[in-house]
């Protein structure tokens, strides 16, 4: 039975730059008890489409131009705001992407949980709190009677997302909209949250719209999939059809972009170590005890890590958030003060090296950061950004610098005409190309890439990974590739190091790690990876 049926929905954004057709006439339906996944890259309009059903898009600049959305026969789009309000959170629940910001930090989770019951079910506080405790228990929060009085900041990201789910489900909606509910979470937590959503859906036989950019996540979850691109639905079908016989070119591109398998060429054996790390430890003052607490316990972000990177090798470094992998990368470059241990780069110990001797070495090691939006200076053009390291390290003169910048732009696949443009004029993928160009400008030997593709869409991610591989080969680079995404690391790395709570728990050749993980944590991590092949049969 059809629960929600959407016909010809169009949502446009009217901005100074002109009209943007975020959703451009889409139609789809969701049956009772069905999980429909809407898949698309950022900006494809998938979230806007679902938010506009509940009148949650900011208006202006957004405007619903046309369409109907029949929910049990009533049109959500033409409904009086007050009647729609009674459907929100009552008959349609919604879970948002970022659990860290989606809960009110000033109210206890109990206070926030009971609100749908107070306003839709007319329960009193006592009854509502009782139900809320039960609901918290159902979503897997231990000791719910106590935890219900906690504030959101006292929960971890995964636990907050459980609270969000409880909040969306507490009024027993018939439809649950999940907007990228696991994108902000670690892979092991993601697996837990996905199975929780699935279990709740089964138990209550509700309909779910699951919005995601990640086909692999959708594969193991959805009954049907709708693929969106630039405001339109390009393909809809049962999950198996989408994965096995995709009809549209775009779906095929998406599927092909999922990093799978490992590097085609075997690593060249090299026995010249470029970087040797010995029992490296980096501590941070633990401020969780309050700003004034005297007993500042030092938190070991990186604990006694030893590893060696050979020349020409790509070493993948994987771990979940808080495992210390980024801190390790920064410790190697001496961007954070190292507590103990040594970092020997081409025969020189970098720990405690004076500024004067460090500067020439800095040229030989560079870093690429995760967020190309935040890591480029918005007031510097591409030229400024790429010329700066060349001039600073004396690798170019005023006369030659333009030619060198243009050559760099060719290298990273940026059009030469873009040389005077500012970062905001580029897409995320192009910005990451600028960042990579800046990193290789000084002809470094070692590059530390900290989650360089995590902020990118899957098709762009595939392009950037290909670019990185080509550059590594061309310039004979050595790379420490930090990522939380095991499929990406498998695709790019020769060897993989696994970090867990600041310690290096396993290090192995890429394939042998995937085939035969030794450490219990590595096994847990690998089993949590969603893969397109786990699609239901």
């Amino acid at each position: 039975m059809t629960l929600l049926s959407i016909e010809n929905l169009a949502v446009h954004f009217h901005t100074r730059a002109g009209q943007m057709r975020a959703v451009d006439g889409i139609s789809f339906s969701v049956d009772q008890g069905e999980i429909l996944a809407i898949v698309g890259e950022s900006g494809s309009g998938k979230s806007v489409a679902c938010y506009s059903l509940l009148n949650l898009i900011p208006q202006p600049p957004g405007k619903i131009e046309s369409g109907t959305a029949l929910f049990e026969g009533r049109d959500l789009l033409s409904m009086q705001p007050d009647i729609l309000r009674r459907i929100r959170g009552n008959e349609i629940g919604i879970i948002f992407q970022d659990p860290m910001t989606s809960l009110n930090p000033y109210l206890t989770v109990g206070e926030q949980l009971i609100e749908p019951l107070l306003y839709h079910r007319n329960l009193n506080r006592q009854q509502a709190l009782k139900r809320a405790v039960k609901m918290l228990d159902e979503v897997g929060i231990a000791d719910p009677e106590t935890r219900i009085h906690s504030y959101p900041h006292e929960f971890s990201g995964g636990m907050r997302q459980r609270v969000m789910i409880a909040m969306a489900m507490i009024a027993e909606p018939k439809l649950l909209i999940c907007d990228e509910p696991t994108t902000a979470l670690d892979v092991t937590i993601q697996a837990q949250i996905l199975s929780l959503i699935k279990a709740l859906q089964k138990r209550r036989n509700i309909a779910v719209i699951f919005i995601s950019h990640d086909l692999a996540v959708v594969a193991g979850l959805a009954d049907r999939v709708a693929v969106m691109k630039e405001g339109r639905i390009v393909e809809t079908g049962p999950v198996n059809d989408i994965f096995q016989k995709p009809r549209s070119d775009y779906t095929r591109t998406l599927l092909a972009s999922i990093p799978s398998g490992s590097k085609s060429h075997p690593p060249q054996p090299s026995d010249q170590p470029l970087l040797q790390i010995d029992r490296l430890t980096t501590c941070f003052a633990d401020n969780s005890g309050g700003w004034l607490s005297r007993q500042k316990a030092d938190k070991k972000a990186v604990n006694e890590v030893s590893l060696t990177i050979q020349r020409g090798e790509i070493l993948g470094l994987v771990g979940e958030s808080g495992s210390g992998k980024s801190t390790l990368g920064r410790s190697i470059l001496q961007l954070v003060p190292v507590t103990r241990g040594s970092v020997i780069f081409d025969g020189t110990d970098l720990v405690g090296l004076r500024q004067k001797r460090m500067t020439p070495l800095r040229r030989r090691m560079q870093m690429i950061f995760q967020d190309p939006y935040a890591s480029l200076n918005p007031r510097m053009t591409v030229f400024d950004c790429l010329a700066e390291p060349l001039l600073y390290h004396g690798l170019a003169t005023r006369k030659t610098v333009t030619a060198q910048v243009l050559a760099l732009m060719d290298d990273v696949g940026l059009a030469r005409t873009a040389i005077r443009k500012y970062p905001h004029e580029f897409s995320g993928g192009q910005r990451q190309r600028i960042a990579i160009g800046r990193a290789i400008a000084t002809k470094p030997e070692l590059i530390i890439a900290d989650e360089p593709v995590s902020a990118l869409d899957v098709t762009i991610q595939a392009q950037i990974l290909a670019l990185i591989l080509a550059l590594v080969e061309k310039h004979n680079l050595t790379m420490l590739f930090i990522s939380h995404d095991l499929s990406v690391v498998r695709y790019i790395a020769d060897r993989i190091a696994v970090m867990h709570r600041g310690e290096l728990v396993e290090m192995a050749e890429t394939e042998s790690l995937f085939v035969n993980p030794q450490h219990v944590y590595s096994r847990k991590l690998l089993s949590a990876i969603p893969t397109p092949t786990t699609a239901q049969t």
Binding site: R88, S102, Q112, Y119, W291, L292
Partner: protein, 311 residues
Amino acid sequence: MLRFILSRLLQAIPVLLVVITVTFLLVRCAPGGPFSAEKAVPPEVVRALEAQYRLDQPIWQQYLSYLGDLAQGEFGPSFRYPGRSVNELIAGGLPITAELAFYAMLVAILIGVCAGVIAALRPNTPQDYLPMSAAMLGICMPSFLMGPLLVLVFGIWLEWLPVSGWGELAGDKVLPAITLGTGYAAYIARLSRGGMLEVMSQDYIRTARAKGLPERVVVLKHALRGGLIPVVAFLGPAFAGLLSGSFVVETIFQIPGLGRFYVQAAFNRDYTMILGTTVFFATLIVLFNLLADIIAVWINPKMRHQLSRSR
């Protein structure tokens, strides 16, 4: 929490020392003295007076003995009100000024928060422009202009309210409180608009709406707390500012508050009175800032949590 308060109080000591020293020196640099009057006073009388008030000693000695007095909470005798100590004068004027400042604060918060919140709910519409333009006007208009204007309109033309005095006629406290409060109301309006605008764009406001809460609950329960944090942080300095800045209003409306003593003291070169009031106001500013910080921590559960664990 206790340690936080203690450390803040300790930090205040050097601040106050600098204030005392600078004021002490500045006052002495000003030409004239407490006993230089138009009519000629015999030199031996002046000498006797100077000796009585220790003015014949070297300046550093005066400074040290003043510090010694201060440490005992003693502001010294007034030079121009013979027989009365500065402590007495402050104690006499303070309750009136404090009452005035309190009413002005109420006016400021009521008008300011309402205007700011209303403006923030529909940004860049007339509902936003109108109160914000009024706020701009309120900031720009000094109280020595606002006061007489209000007096003219409500006191003389409409004859609704008395135009001067304090606690003598019914309603004579209304105009001073409004005059003093308006400027602060304008600041508070701008602060609460900014705070509310930021909070209203947060993800958790979208969550609250997605739960189907009435807009009234979304604004008052979910947004107001976070949105008013900048206002709360401003209240401490604002209250201290109201206390110390009340002299214009007190002069306009003939209110026998602390501010008038302060101004007169400056004209009269009443050294101890100037110093005493300055130190007193400086202490108040420090204390109210601390109070505002404590309230800001108390509102924010995350900071409350951190502090309570450090106890």
